[in-house]
Point group: C2
Chain length 511, copies 2
């Protein structure tokens, strides 16, 4: 029930920067709508009553429509152009540039096209949910064909406006500056390495397990104790519990707003590592959000840079920190304190470093995961260019799966090209972010340890502040000031280089 | 992070009812903003991180501003006028009338005035919070004088637009149709009765406690068990747990939206009754919200009628049902099942029916509570009319407090005219709702039991459906179709009549 409305006077504007101030005010209104959408989204997955979904969906669609209408208002380009002639400082100029970029990306598709695509995408996602369970590729194929046809159109439309190659224009939504010309050779190096290294890592693992058999996770780990352990780890790693919280949801996520970051996990009483590693991963996302520049929060400039950078931050905490043996020297007593179970480093690390060939990307470890991504990166470029048709996807998927991972999905499309929601959801150009994130995390760790050779000792002492200080300066405080490749180069002193990730895998999983 | 925006085509409109459809679409947008504000408000009190408040306040103020701008758009009266000439059914005509009423109430104060008042109100509320703790009337008085001066102006402005007497024009915001000409004589009857009855009820209580000493609440009632007990009671009484939930907050409330009603309580491990009675009270509010007409949800017509009616629904569940001895015949085994403690009816009822003179309204029982309200109703009319000045309030309060309750507050303004947030918050005309609600609940119970003499037996069996069926038909399904007095008269067959509440008190607390 809403009985009173507060009215506020418009912010004062100076003649000197009137257009910039209009954009600034607009940013504050958009931030309020984003705040509502972010909290409503997190609430839906954590606290909403089961019957509240229909009204929630309608409310969020209407709020998203209001956001879109305001963010794409036709007068915005004029305001931007006028503001470019005003007296502004460097940050304001950077804010303007990022505003222009956002406006272009939000308006490069005609409304009529977005409506058709939304309909096709929603229908395909619904079919995917129903038919994946039945392993029914034949029923799913026509819907995916419809989505792919529209994605080809979308790529062409974006390409025209942005002056980029079609697939690059799709990637540009997720990480500005990411280009196949830069990524493809790096992925090629990585793929060549992994095809040889994966069997080697598996053989090494097998030999080790023969000598030192796996100690199973055999306790019953009470959920409230696992939760306390998760909170203790979050706080230690740097999560600000006065600006965020940990809840339970079916699929773990990091949501909310920078002033109130909502991360979630799910618990199995038979396995504390699964929830804990998930908490560390989401804590990585949360640290980025919590440490974005507050003064820029209402501008696109103040947002996290993109999906690959975000994934680099979550993987930095999960893989570079959370699966580092030095970290476990500090973490094992914490685990023992909360769960009452003592583990030795030799017993826990085989769990934390488990490598396994599998069909499912989201279950993959850090050695095999990139092959899942590279397979999708290659196939989706062919789908977008038209050199591969959806009808031929199961065979193409199976051929690469056998080549890269030695597994076949030919009779099992549910675990082949039907396994992810991304393609039914028309999110082409997104998949590379995962492995780019893993590579960037390794490259950041390498850069950090060049400057601070004692980083491993820091971890072993549970001292995360020096590491976080480097990340705050190089990544978090930069918001969206630089393109994704420029941000990486400024932070690490070099362009994306597979060498660091390869060295990381060799060191952790090699002989 | 928001990467994708759904765009929706405008709803199709027919030439026949174009203006009505515009208003219908507007209603859906306003409903989305209300949804966001309601969930953000509930979330703030239950799940928000402590550091999230500043951004939350800004986001909610901006969303409230968007709501106000849309709900008061200057073209709305033209749309309403045009729609009145369109072919509409009865419900649509009722929706139009209520839209017009809401528009008038939202626009009858100039924006400039609302801004001044908001500033004065917020300053006075902040001072109140700081100075109440110090019992500092002298520091508080000037701020309250400022608020009262503006409330007098507000009453005059509303009076001009609505053609009502100034205080009636203030009450009209909270319960349309409530008039001092109807309420004052009823309150006068009630006051006369209570001044004699209260000492009588206290004497009877004392005599009973001499014969049968109070069995104290002496257990340690674990919070999770109290919560399960609360949920069991909510569900039994009719709360739909697929469209709502129970959480913890510092001040209990009922919030959220009809499809997802959020109620809260707070627990004391030394006393299960305090949380339980609170849960029953909020469940009463929730039943009203959950059972409002869904087809009208996006119109003012589909909202709960007003504050007195809402309070009648919460008090119906708390007092008419939840403090009824018949209810406790059913409830005691439920309490025993959840808390493992057996209570006899003779032991529990003295707690449930405890009467006590006190200074504080929110702690008062159903016998003394109306005297607290009538005191405020009388004083605030004098403050609005100008026959009483703020400087004279402590004496005026004390005089009536001694007269009605035999207690003095002359040296204790913190527990006198500084005890409530309503006046610093400029909410004059609100207080009568509480006692009107209590009287209306008793009148509804009387009407219901005339039709269904077995209602007590229903309670004793834990059968709430017949009682809820009556309430659904008479109150809940009616939304805002009738004014508050008309709704009561249609439901109970007569105008507001103190007799029913008096009979209720006599029966429960008399000799």
């Amino acid at each position: 029930m809403l009985l009173r409305w507060c009215l506020f006077a418009p912010s004062p504007t100076t003649e000197a920067a009137m257009s910039f101030h209009k954009l600034d005010d607009l940013g504050r209104k958009l931030e309020a709508l984003e705040h509502a959408l972010a909290i409503l989204g997190a609430d839906e997955a954590t606290h909403m009553a089961v019957g509240g979904g229909e009204k929630r969906a309608k409310a969020m669609a209407a709020l998203a429509g209001m956001y879109h209408t305001r963010a794409t208002a036709p007068e915005i380009p004029d305001w931007i152009a006028a503001a470019e002639g005003e007296e502004l400082d460097d940050e304001q100029r950077a804010a303007l540039a990022e505003l222009r970029r956002q406006y272009t990306n939000l308006t490069c598709l005609p409304v009529e096209f977005v409506e058709r695509q939304t309909t096709a995408r929603m229908r395909c996602e619904q079919l995917w949910r129903a038919l994946r369970a039945k392993n029914d590729w034949a029923g799913f194929q026509p819907a995916l064909e419809g989505v792919v046809a529209l994605v080809r159109d979308e790529a062409a439309l974006r390409s025209d406006v942005l002056g980029l190659a079609p697939y690059d224009a799709l990637m540009e939504q997720y990480d500005p500056g990411n280009r196949t010309a830069d990524i493809t050779p790096v992925f090629a190096d990585l793929k060549a390495f992994l095809k040889g290294f994966m069997p080697e890592a598996l053989a090494i693992q097998e030999a080790r397990l023969r000598k030192h058999p796996l100690k199973p996770l055999s306790g019953t780990y009470a959920i409230d104790r696992q939760r306390e352990l998760g909170l203790a780890m979050m706080a230690a790693v740097g999560f600000d519990l006065t600006h965020g919280s940990l809840s339970v949801s079916h699929h773990p996520f990091c949501g909310g707003v920078p002033s109130d970051v909502r991360i979630t996990t799910r618990y199995k009483t038979s396995d504390f590592l699964s929830a804990l590693m998930g908490v560390l991963h989401e804590t990585g996302h949360a640290l980025y959000e919590q440490n974005l520049p507050k003064a820029w929060a209402h501008w696109p400039l103040g947002k996290a840079r993109g999906m690959a950078v975000h994934e680099s931050q979550s993987l930095f905490v999960e893989k570079q920190i959370g699966r580092n043996p030095a970290f476990w020297r500090w973490a094992l007593p914490v685990v023992e304190k909360h769960l009452g179970e003592a583990w030795s480093l030799d017993d826990i690390l085989p769990h934390v470093h488990r490598v396994e060939r599998g069909l499912i990307r989201v279950d993959a470890d850090e050695v095999t995961y990139p092959l899942h991504v590279i397979l999708r990166y290659e196939l989706e470029q062919e789908l977008v260019s038209g050199s591969l048709e959806v009808a031929d996807l199961p065979e193409a998927w199976d051929a690469r799966m056998r080549d890269y991972l030695g597994l076949s999905t030919i009779d099992n499309p549910a675990d082949g090209p039907m396994q992810d929601v991304h393609w039914p959801g028309a999110a082409f150009g997104y998949f590379p972010s995962y492995t780019l994130g893993a590579m960037m995390a390794a490259q950041q760790w390498a850069a950090l340890t060049r400057e601070r050779p004692s980083a491993d000792e820091d971890l072993a002492k549970g001292n995360f502040e020096a590491i976080n200080g480097w990340r705050r300066e190089k990544i978090w405080s930069q918001g969206s000031r630089w393109s994704t490749p420029d941000l990486l180069e400024r932070a690490t002193g070099e362009k994306l280089n597979a060498k660091h990730f390869v060295n990381h895998l060799r060191q952790r999983y090699g002989g």
